[in-house]
């Protein structure tokens, strides 16, 4: 967190950014057979996973040049990447996800990875919705790494038991009944961290639960004004606001992992968060099913909001580096890497049809739902995690939802009007 602030502060002025550009111009060009990889996986488990990828690439005779930029869900990495790209010296691969992939492709900077994809049969191995995110104008320009499910609800079984709640609530009505009981028992019903992406993580689970996958897609992915203006959206906003009544007053600004700790320590009953929260539970030595429970957010059992990390591949001139790049892409999608990486990270493999023996219950459930929803159409991209819409509109909608959550003076009707306006941001 502090590192992030320091770094963001150094990026305060455009002229300072440009100074960084000038420096990187002088930084030299990659050697033959070398793949420079920009990523922001620097925490314990993640760093281990990246080391695995490095080993695989070196086994194929290439050199791995690590370019790790810590902090802030990739914001810092994205800033550094821009300065490198503007200076005409991009890395071979960079960790970028969602529609940002297409934005980079539209700048004409990404390499066509169709040859690798065809040789490795990516079209058969990836669900179509996921493959579409990796493509620009029908060609692969990025390699997917993992799948996080976002519409999870985590719970502390002891807190539920003490409050007399039997099992995880399946609908929002059940949820509020359970939350009332927890509140009465003296615990905080919902642990929430008030940052705009956390607000939106909860919001999109509510929209998905209230309106279903079709409505979610129309309203939040296609940003259809009719869907945004519908009674279903009104109900979603009302439900979302109602949840706030079950959170504690100190939530604004709280980090997600501290929020997860509240559930872990029995201070709070539920948390809405993606499956990286599981990594937090496991790291504290908690066992799934016993010390903590996982279930789809109320009403979203048949749907799945995905958050897929991926690497975009830049156009390179050097033939050796191109070979290293395509080998890197193939390695990322290989069964070996997919298993090791995702066991460390708490997510599940993006490749369909993998053996899930080594994964825990929540992981197995996630993988099963991933496959099922891919068939039924319940598999939808997460807006909160930059998978669905362009950053400008996403930012505007997140701002608006977060303001609605925090400021009780904003009425539901006002919020709905503002939501439609925010969705029109180009």
């Amino acid at each position: 967190m502090y590192g992030r602030i320091e770094e963001t502060f150094t990026m305060l002025k455009l002229n300072q950014l440009a100074a960084a550009v000038a420096l990187t111009v002088a930084a030299g060009v990659a050697n033959a057979g070398e793949a420079e990889v920009l990523h922001y996986w620097t925490s314990g488990g993640e760093a281990k996973s990246v080391a695995e990828l490095k080993k695989m690439l070196e086994a194929k005779g290439h050199k791995w040049k690590d370019f790790a930029v810590a902090g802030g869900a990739g914001d810092n990495a994205a800033t550094v990447l821009k300065s490198r790209a503007i200076s005409g010296n991009p890395p071979a691969a960079a960790q970028v996800k969602g529609p940002a992939i297409q934005e980079w492709a539209n700048e004409g900077m990404l390499a066509n990875m169709d040859a690798t994809a065809k040789a490795e049969k990516w079209d058969e191995l990836l669900p179509k919705v996921v493959a579409d995110v990796m493509k620009s104008k029908g060609s692969y320009v990025a390699a997917p790494v993992n799948v996080h499910r976002v519409n999870w609800m985590w719970a502390n079984p002891d807190v539920l038991k003490k409050a007399g709640v039997a099992g995880m609530p399946k609908s929002w009505d059940e949820f509020f009944a359970a939350a009332d009981k927890i509140k009465a028992s003296g615990a905080i019903a919902v642990a929430h961290g008030g940052q705009n992406w956390q607000d939106f993580t909860t919001f999109e689970s509510v929209v998905l639960g209230v309106g279903g996958a079709k409505f979610y897609t129309d309203a939040l992915v296609k940003l259809d004004p009719a869907a945004l203006n519908s009674a279903t959206m009104t109900k979603s906003l009302e439900t979302f606001r109602k949840i706030k009544g079950y959170t504690d007053p100190a939530s604004p600004g709280r980090d997600w992992n501290l929020t997860t700790a509240m559930v872990m320590n029995g201070k709070a009953g539920f948390q809405f968060m993606g499956d990286w929260a599981k990594g937090e539970f496991l790291a504290a030595g908690k066992a799934p099913g016993k010390d903590f429970l996982c279930a789809a957010a109320p009403g979203t059992a048949n749907a799945y909001t995905f958050n897929v990390d991926s690497f975009i591949m830049f156009k390179l001139k050097d033939a050796g580096a191109q070979k290293a790049q395509s080998d890197l892409a193939a390695s990322i999608m290989s069964t070996g890497f997919q298993e090791v990486f995702n066991l460390n990270k708490g997510s599940i493999p993006v490749r369909l049809g993998m053996k899930m023996d080594k994964f825990d219950e929540c992981g197995k459930a996630s993988a099963k739902d991933f496959v099922d929803t891919a068939k039924t159409g319940g598999l939808v991209p997460s807006v909160a995690h930059g998978m669905a819409i362009k950053p400008a509109a996403e930012g505007a909608i997140k701002d608006m939802v977060s303001q609605f959550w925090n400021d009780d003076k904003v009425t539901v009707a006002d919020a709905q009007k503002k939501l439609i306006a925010a969705a029109a941001t180009k």
Binding site: F9, L14, A78, A85, I86, W104, Q195, P252, G253
Partner: protein, 292 residues
Amino acid sequence: MSRTLESMLPKLVVAPGFILGFAFIYGFMIWNGVLSVSASRMLPNYEFVGLAQFERLFEMERWWVALKNLGIFALLYVGGACVIGVLLAIFLDQKIRAEGALRTIYLYPMALSFVVTGTAWKWMLNPSLGLEKLMHDWGWTSFHFDWLVNTDMAIYCVVIAGIWQSAGFAMALFLAGLRGIDDSIIKAAQVDGASLPRIYWRIILPSLRPVFFSTILVLSHLAIKSFDLVMALTNGGPGYSTDVPATFMYAMSFTRGQVGLGAASATVMLMTVAALVVPYLYSELRSKPHDR
């Protein structure tokens, strides 16, 4: 030969710094200006769109919130730091004991970066960690202080932390100003029978005018640039209720892929600073020949 070298040397020594300063300050200011009238999105491009980015900027509710916050923050922060600074300086000027130690204590916050100040105050003002919890633990259970998490009041938390940081600095400036006032004027006033408050109000404070001017100038440009304090204390939240132009600019340029819009907001900030600084510099530079 040596004569020419002697006359050239100072220019040669100053030249690199001058060129670098010119390119990296004014050059990038101009580049920012160019970007603010371009259609730049994720990466800079140079398609001219006139003032469209500015129109979009002033249609955004979040920008107006940021401007309003800047107004509140700048006014209260500069005013508060000046008032407290003057009072501290006057009290310290009463020939008290241990003045050196007290002065150091009041100046100490200046030694911290705004990030540290912001983080410390974040903990103190957080209702479940800081002041409110302390009061509850001590038995005053009706005590209620939730400004930090209240969308209407959070900006005042930023003001409090900012004043805490800067009041000592203002005090140091005023103290230096007080020491510079000629004792004989005060003595003359005393002989004339003026009371102490009257002496301060009519003689000492007016003669501190130049000090007020430079203090306000220094503090107001700090206020306009304020970024780290807000990032550390509230991160712009709850929602975007404590957003200021600098955090707005950062969010738009670097995380939202709207470089043009961010450049437009940076231009507005530059104009604001210029509006404050240019008249001041002008008056200073013009008055020099008369004074000296």
